[in-house]
Amino acid sequence: MFETSFSVVWLTLKLALIVTVILLLVATPLAWWLSQTQSRYKPVISALFAVPLVLPPTVLGFYLLLLMGPNGPIGQLSEALGLGSLPFSFTGIAIACAVHSFPFVIQPLQNSFEAIGKRPLEVAATLGASSWDCFCNVVIPLARPGFITAMVMGFCHAIGEFGVVLMIGGNIPGKTRVLSVEIYNHVEAMEYAQAHWLAGGMMAFSFLALLLIYLVNHKAAQRSMA
């Protein structure tokens, strides 16, 4: 019993970590673009990016399943690239999780980029910094609370993922069986003690993660722009 729990926790952490890294890489440039653009398509794109926030995971999971299936474009692409079939695979649930957690990562990033304003960027330019230099040495340090919020939110959301994983990945031990699914299995089997261990652990973990965000933001608020 303990061994299966360990493998479930390990798989879940691995999934959350990979999803967080992918999301930071994808969402950072998009959030920066959204924070700087004056394009008239900005509301459309913002709304599109926020859709996973409001859709039931089953709806999202259903469409992702179709897209990743052997006849869907993503499925055909992954076959062509030699990645094999995505549904019922770890890669598949990682992609699905990333899509579902995307708004939780891009929104804090975009908010913190917008909060920086134009002035620090102009100051950096007059001091000889190129756009890339300015992004690395001014924007990222000033947006640090946003990055921490984005990472923690993305990570925790991926850890707690249930509906989408179930739709895409099913329930394969060691491959796609993550924490929330395992808790569901325990409850179904009336194994309340095991369910308690996992569920309680998740509660404690979530609280500590949110505490970290609030502590960081509290510290950042005390250090205002001079």
């Binding site: 250090r223 722009m225 001079a226």
Partner: protein, 358 residues
Amino acid sequence: MSLLQGRFQADHGDFQLNVAFTLPDKGVTALFGPSGSGKTSCLRAIAGLERLPNSFFQIGNKVWQDEAQGIFVPANQREIGYVFQEASLFPHLNVQQNLEFGLKRLAKEKRKVKPDSVIELLGIGALLSRPPAALSGGERQRVAIARALLRSPELLLMDEPLSALDRRLKREILPYLEELHRELSIPVVYVSHAPDEVVRLADHIIMLDQGRLLCSGPLKEIMVDPRFALLFGDGASTLFEGRVSAQREDLITEVSAKDLTLRLTHRPIALDFPIRCRIHASDVSLCTQKPSHCSILNIFPGRVLRIDPGEQAGKILVTLELAKGQKLLAQISSYSVNRLQLQPGTPVWAQVKSVAVL
């Protein structure tokens, strides 16, 4: 002598900018005008922070912008120092790191300004390890000025650097700016709507109003030009620039500019120190005969050059030429002009009732 040449145009619907100017490559030029006149737009365009259409800017033989040829050098490649209205120090860096931010991004062979001398000039040596949040408003602005200077700029641009500060902090910073003016040979463009700052700091002035150029030229000449004299919000006046030439035993301090000497009540200023004095036109009275037995310290012979309407009805602005080609403005009543029968060419004696040392 290399020059700064600019021509800026913009059309933002309710605001149109269309100015062209040429400036010397030395001294402080004030971009002066009421808010909304386009001063800051011009400064931002000079810095490359804004790209205005159909515009042109050249410093010496370097063209920074020429839209006719599609040339636009981005702000980070222009050799400028820019001081914003608010100090805008980076909050995640301490004072030292803020100072080094610009310095690090400057090729070693271009680092002409010595960090130690700038830190000393602006009196920020004790602040280096502090975060910006632990500085007063005046200290922050001094650090921001030092940070801009450490770029060894070819041109220092200052956007109302004192306007966010209260009177006390202004008085704290102005001496540093005057020191900069005396010590450095970098040309400075200084945006301001405050006549007192302009008169203290500027050598040259560009006056803007509603996006148009009213005039540009040496400050001393513009100030005594009757067409523009009254545009200084605090009244027409004459600027004297001179050096302390004598500290007399009878407690008179003498300031000489060219061949003209002003007598002041004692001021503890070192001999040969350059100072500026301002004589308000309303503090000058005129006599057609040489006044004698008079308590006034400064009485100069001259002749009337022009007679123009003054600030309000019943007031006349008289432009005098003193013996040595120096102009002086006097504002007297129209009644006195008639009684003394003043007209261009009339020889007069000007009595200066008070001189403000800036």
